[in-house]
């Protein structure tokens, strides 16, 4: 009886691990897409609205979903506090500490960090160029993320179940 309960638990845990892993593969392209949309919005805010950066980034937080929105919300809040933090510092710190809460990986973060180093520090034309560049990089990452999703999403799901089944068989 005990053995059966244990086997069921192992089976359940293995399946869950597989599903979670699959969900991360599925979430990554979605979150990159959200970032791209956010940057598109930022471009508009800078180009047409000339909205000050703290406010513009605050608006980005409203159009994307958590956990990505939390990043923008935190940056906007820090900048509005006006304690002498520069955009680059604040952007760097927030992205590095908050990135693990998202499903995105290092290349996307690099692209965003590069953008942060120039944001707010030059004229409109220049800002637009940098934002477009970051968007292109994100789009390339999105393509590779979709590719990975196709390849590994189903596989990690079945791997979870099968792995758990293997453990159960060995145990029995």
């Amino acid at each position: 009886m005990m053995k059966l309960a244990g086997a069921l638990l192992v089976l359940f845990a293995g399946t869950m691990i597989g599903y979670l892993q699959a969900a991360r593969f599925a979430a990554r392209p979605r979150q990159i897409r959200q970032l791209t949309h956010a940057l598109q919005r930022l471009e508009t805010e800078i180009q047409y609205g000339q909205t000050p950066l703290p406010e513009a980034i605050g608006r980005l937080a409203a159009i994307v979903q958590p956990p990505v929105s939390a990043l923008f919300a935190e940056i906007s809040e820090t900048l509005s506090r006006a304690d002498g933090t520069t955009v680059r510092e604040c952007w760097d710190r927030t992205l590095r500490s908050g990135w693990s809460a998202t499903s995105m990986k290092k290349p996307e973060m690099e692209a965003m960090l590069r953008l942060g180093a120039t944001l707010g520090g030059s004229g409109r034309e220049d800002q637009i160029k940098h934002i477009r560049l970051a968007m292109h990089q994100l789009q390339a990452e999105e393509v590779s993320a979709r590719d990975e999703q196709h390849r590994y999403e189903k596989m990690s799901r079945s791997l979870g179940v099968l792995g758990a089944a293997l453990v159960v068989i060995i145990m029995l």
Binding site: Q50, P52, L79, T86, G120, G123
Partner: protein, 341 residues
């Protein structure tokens, strides 16, 4: 120092400025920050360098030198992290921040088709502190009243930079719109509707459209609006009785002023000039002055901490300038007399 000001600076600059001796802090006029060069302040008409501990020194070698990071952070604060949003201001070379403080910028000009597009590599800041000196208009206002019409004369306030033109103009606006005429004949006049065209956001220091300086109850402000266009918009839509503008000097300003004068609006304006003779020497102002557009001139001068106002009526001004220029440029009649037997 005014409350909003320290927020602009990061440590250690901020700490140094907060430790300034009180006599300098209370009369502070300018803070000059130049990257990797000595920190300087202007106060009570004098200047001095500031060392590590906030003490004043005459020796620039002992002064504190703000570094690159401090300047970068200051620029970000001044522009609200958004250089792209202040391109127009960069083209003119200054940014006005909350509280009406104007920050002049020095850097490398970026040209576009031969004209200055904006500044980059900004490494010099001149923070000019705006102060409301409530009551400074009381001495001037009785002298520029037009008792028959029950309002003020068209008045031009002249002085070199940094003598308190804008401060005086601001207090005149407040007095006129709240009816503090300081004259026995004017007790029953009440306040007048005043329109302020505040191109540099210095007179009213508007934040989101609301003046942060007290300009009295009957005052409308067109913030950040070019003077010439602003005066016309004012006259057309806000029915002011008195229009106040800062620093006139371009040809289009004169045209707009003329329009306002003929619309029955009284004008208060300021201009850079050291004396009346200067007013008559600057092309645009000279045209206005010779047409006797202004009814009175107020000349602001300062020695030590004392600000002095001299009020000159238009006729006297013309006479005074002519009398002065006589010995230099003799009229033909005078020359004939000199050559006579």
């Amino acid at each position: 120092m005014s409350p909003a000001l320290p927020d602009l600076f990061v440590q250690p600059l901020r700490g140094i400025l907060e430790r300034l001796p009180s006599h300098a802090a209370d009369t502070l006029e300018e803070i000059r920050i130049r990257e990797n060069r000595p920190l300087e302040i202007g106060y009570a008409g004098r200047h001095g360098f500031v060392d590590q501990d906030g003490a004043l020194t005459a020796d620039y070698r002992k002064a504190y030198m703000p570094g690159r990071e401090e300047c970068r952070a200051l620029l970000e604060r001044v522009t609200n992290h958004s250089l792209y949003a202040v391109e127009e201001e960069l083209r003119r070379g200054y940014v006005t921040v909350a509280g009406g403080h104007r920050i002049g910028l020095a850097g490398r000009a970026v040209l576009e088709r031969g004209a200055v597009a904006h500044l980059k590599d900004i490494a010099g800041f001149n923070v000019r502190i705006a102060r409301a000196r409530s009551g400074c208009a009381a001495a001037v206002l009785p002298g520029i009243l037009d008792l028959k019409a029950g309002t003020v004369k068209h008045t031009l306030i002249v002085s070199p930079p940094q003598q308190g033109k804008t401060t005086l103009l601001r207090d005149l606006v407040r007095s006129i719109s709240s009816g503090d005429w300081n004259h026995p004949a004017a007790i029953r006049w009440g306040g007048r509707k005043v329109g302020v065209v505040d191109e540099r956001s210095e007179i009213a220091a508007c934040e989101a459209g609301v003046p942060t300086f007290d300009l009295g109850p009957r005052c409308d402000v067109l913030d950040a609006c070019p003077k010439a266009e602003g005066i016309m918009m004012m006259v057309r839509s806000l029915s002011p009785e008195v229009v106040a503008v800062d620093e006139i000097g371009r040809p289009e300003d004169a045209d707009a002023l003329n329009e306002a004068l003929h619309a029955g609006v009284r004008v208060l304006a300021t201009a850079h000039a050291t004396s009346l003779a200067d007013v008559f020497a600057r092309p645009v102002l000279a045209r206005l002055a010779e047409d006797c557009v202004f009814g009175a001139y107020v000349i602001v001068s300062r020695s030590g901490g004392q600000v002095r106002y001299r009020i000159v009526a238009a006729e006297d001004a013309v006479r005074e300038v002519k009398a002065r220029s006589m010995p230099a440029i003799r009229s033909p009649a005078a020359q004939l007399e000199a050559q006579g037997p």
